[in-house]
């Protein structure tokens, strides 16, 4: 099964289960969790079901296209269910069966793995789902986001699309995967992975990125003062990506790391508070 079939099938499955199919967010993010469709929507009381394919950037994971499994940009399929359904695990296993996995023949385990994002002030409890030893999904019950206790809780299911495809296509090198029947992952991505690895590890302009971080940070603060939490949050995401590249360049000292992270956490939590104030405050 090709990558695009996996995405289409997951969209179909979750659409049948009441999810709105969103587009991936058009800003660099490290994970589907960081997009407004998750970050804001898990806050407050209003029920929410969304599913979307989200390309995710982790500059430090680049391997110059030489590692069969690691890439600086990978693809996630993100599902958010709020409130938590009673049969979340069954739904998830059904989605695997829908993709053609014979679950009786595979060692599928829910293995303890709690999740926390210091820069988003968020944490949750859950598992990594292992399939024959391969981590294919993160399954998390959100407890807090933007520093705010969540009620109701949300269930987040994040499929690693490359992982899932390696498993379904029985390939051990992701560059050999079929994106569609006509084009491979390698054809589409090799050059991109090479160039971005060189950029992230070797040539990214450290001074410029530091300056950008400061500018993005300032802009987020300004926008929050204007109560424009959505654009403000966009700038928090930009800060986060700039920080990640600096980190891949080994340009962040320990003291700096703490202050970068805490400034991002503050901004994210202020955005979250504003969201609650603006939406819940109005509706009751």
């Amino acid at each position: 099964m090709s990558i695009q079939e996996i995405i289409l099938k997951l969209e179909e499955f979750w659409s049948h289960n009441g999810c709105y199919i969103a587009s991936g967010y058009d800003n660099e993010v490290g994970a589907g969790t960081m997009t407004p469709d998750t970050f804001f929507k898990v806050l407050g009381k209003k029920p929410w079901r969304a599913a979307y394919w989200q390309p995710s950037r982790r500059p430090d994971d680049g391997r110059y296209a030489e590692n069969p499994n690691r890439v600086q940009k990978h693809n996630q399929f993100q599902v958010i269910l709020k409130p938590v359904p009673e049969n979340g695990q069954e739904l998830y296993l059904n989605s695997l069966q829908f993709l053609g996995v014979e679950i009786r023949n595979h060692d599928i385990k829910f293995d303890e793995d709690n999740w926390a994002s210091p820069s988003l002030g968020a944490w949750g409890v859950g598992w990594q789902v292992m399939c024959d030893g391969l981590e294919i999904t993160q399954f998390t019950y959100f407890q807090q986001a933007g520093g705010i206790e969540l009620s109701p809780n949300s269930l987040e299911i994040t499929y690693g699309i490359e992982r899932l495809a390696s498993f379904l296509e029985k390939k051990s090198n992701i560059y050999d995967l079929n994106w569609s029947n006509n084009v491979s992952y390698g054809e589409l991505r090799t050059e991109e992975e090479k160039q971005f690895s060189v950029y992230n590890f070797e040539t990214a302009d450290i001074d410029m990125l530091r300056e950008l971080f400061t500018l993005y940070n300032k802009e987020a603060i300004r926008l929050l003062e204007l109560e424009l939490y959505l654009p403000a949050f966009d700038y928090v995401l930009k800060c986060s990506h700039a920080f990640n590249i600096l980190d891949a360049r080994k340009a962040v000292s320990v003291a700096e790391r703490t202050s970068f992270l805490s400034s991002m956490r503050d901004l994210a939590s202020q955005s979250a508070k504003l969201y609650i104030l603006k939406t819940e405050g109005k509706n009751g």
């Binding site: 069969p68 499994n69 003291a255």
Partner: protein
Amino acid sequence: MAEFLFELGVEEVPVSYIRDIMNQLVKGFTDSFTQKRIEFESIETAMTNRRFLLFFNNISQVSGAKSEQIKGPSKKIAFDEDQNPTKALEKFLETNGIKESDLEEIETKKGIYLGYTREDEGDDTKVLLSILIPGILDKMSFNKTMTWNSSGKSFVRPIRNLLAIFNGKTIDFQFAGITSSNITNGHRLLSEEKIRISSFQEYCEQMSQNFVIFSEDERKNKILTEIKDLEDDLGFKVKMTDKMLEYYIFNNEYPVVFTGKFDEQYLDLPSEIISTFMINEKKLVPVYDNSEKLTNIFVGISNVPDESEFVSKGNEKVIRATFEDAKFFWDNDRNDDFKGLREGLKNVMFQKDLGTFHEKTIRIKEISELLSELSGNPEQTKNIGAAAVLCKNDLLTRMVGEFPSLQGIMGGLYLKEKGEEKDIWETVYFHYEPRGFVEDELESLNGGILSMGDKIDNIVGLISKGTKVSSSKDPYGIRRDTSAIIKIIIDFKLNFDLKSAINFTIDKFGIDEEEREKILEVVTSLFSARMEHFLKDLLFIDNDVVNSVIKSNTLFIYKTYMRAKAVFEVSESASIHHLIEIHKRIRNIIKDTETLPVSESLLIEPEEKILFEILNETKLGTEKFLMNNKYIEACSNFIDMKPVVDNFFEKVLVMDKDEEIKNNRIGLLQKLNELLLQIADFSILTEKD
């Protein structure tokens, strides 16, 4: 008599919580049953990461009846002059819901009181259980919990099913938004339908038909038998630790052993890296050949049978990817100037308020060098100092950044790679060991010494900054560090007083005289508590024996340990009686009096003169024994004094009219007490039957 079956169904709880959950359930039920006077013949329990089963056999249908006399006001104040009930009596009648005619007189030492007999007839156990079970579940508590639905109840992972059957009938109750039922489910992947249960026997049958081996022993045996078969087939050794076995037993309801292979080229990586990655990252077990060499075979435990070999092939692919990662880090880090990384430690904070890792290595070097001398290991002091300087460099390697559990190990391996001397790289390699008391035997004395230096620095540094330690709160693992030091000292038989090293470390933090005493006190009590735990809970030495040795000279760890072992041995023999008696008599007389001098010229009676002589003789002998840690011999030396001491107490009156003579005799007994205390406070021991 009836049977009661309860199964708590949950989403996969982490293995580390499983025994705790069951203990809390068993305690909750048995406590409630005692309180309600519900009797049962036997209890069976079983648990996996998805279910917790409790089965009570021959349980009473009705809780025990009870009659109890309730005392009210005294007769005097119950009625006024006109024999009408007073407010006090009215209140009593009202709160207990009784009439005046129910009252009876109760005779007490203080006179006659009024009261009544409350008859509790006992309730239907099934009805009681419907109230008790939600209460028991509600009372369970854990250090990290979550919420998942609008009930707001918290648990380790979501609760999804409550099976509760009393003699074939469902016990009706609700908890965390779930209604109890007679339904449960089988294996997550191998069984689909809901299972209806009416009895324990049916439960057993249904579970085995639905691929759940609910007995812990059965799962364990299945795993161990399959591994044994495999070892016999291959002629190799599968190295499974107890911790891994525990993980497999609880993480699989239908465990099946499988094997796989990886490409031999990865055996070029250091075997420590391979095994650490297999165990920690992939939960797979390494396999060794007869000459203890790592092979390219691995063993894993699957939750489903693997006839089609999907599980095995899948894991082979995954482990290849993992080793590919390891190789990337290993090759990259090896190209770095490892010793040069030390400069970078100037930017890495050790702890807030405690400076950088660079500063820490300077302190560890000096502390470890001192410890090396104290340990009688002077020829290695230079190497240990050199290792201390380099021991934290690996914090800046990519490998440790990604896999922190490889700290120390990687530093050692990178130094070895750079051609460093064995005495130095091995010291770095082992300097995080041990991680607790249960760890295997320690291998490297040098590593142990550096480990102590590192840990004393942690303990003293953190405590000097006001870090508090308790059983529930120990964020920096100070208790674990303390235990590790004790283990190192005992394993390597390091005969020195830790006090000097601790004082030396306190000085490194620039602490003033006044603070110093306080910190030393906290550190001492920390060691005393861990030592107590070690002796009582791990060596199973009786409480009274441990208490008799722990208070004096605690920081001389090895001696305290040897004293405890010797006193324990002596306490098992009949002669302990003499020591207890002698010491008790002495303590009874001297109590807490201030130390008094003894003057030979004031000794009058022959019995006290002899005691004085024997005391001095024994003291000399004891010193020799103590020096060589021969505490059993020292004890029998004490026992030999018994007739002389007895004679003294028989013939000599300590409390003489003459104050000087009296004080002299008390002083003599104080000396005797001091001598005995060098081994133990025998006066607090209890004699065994």
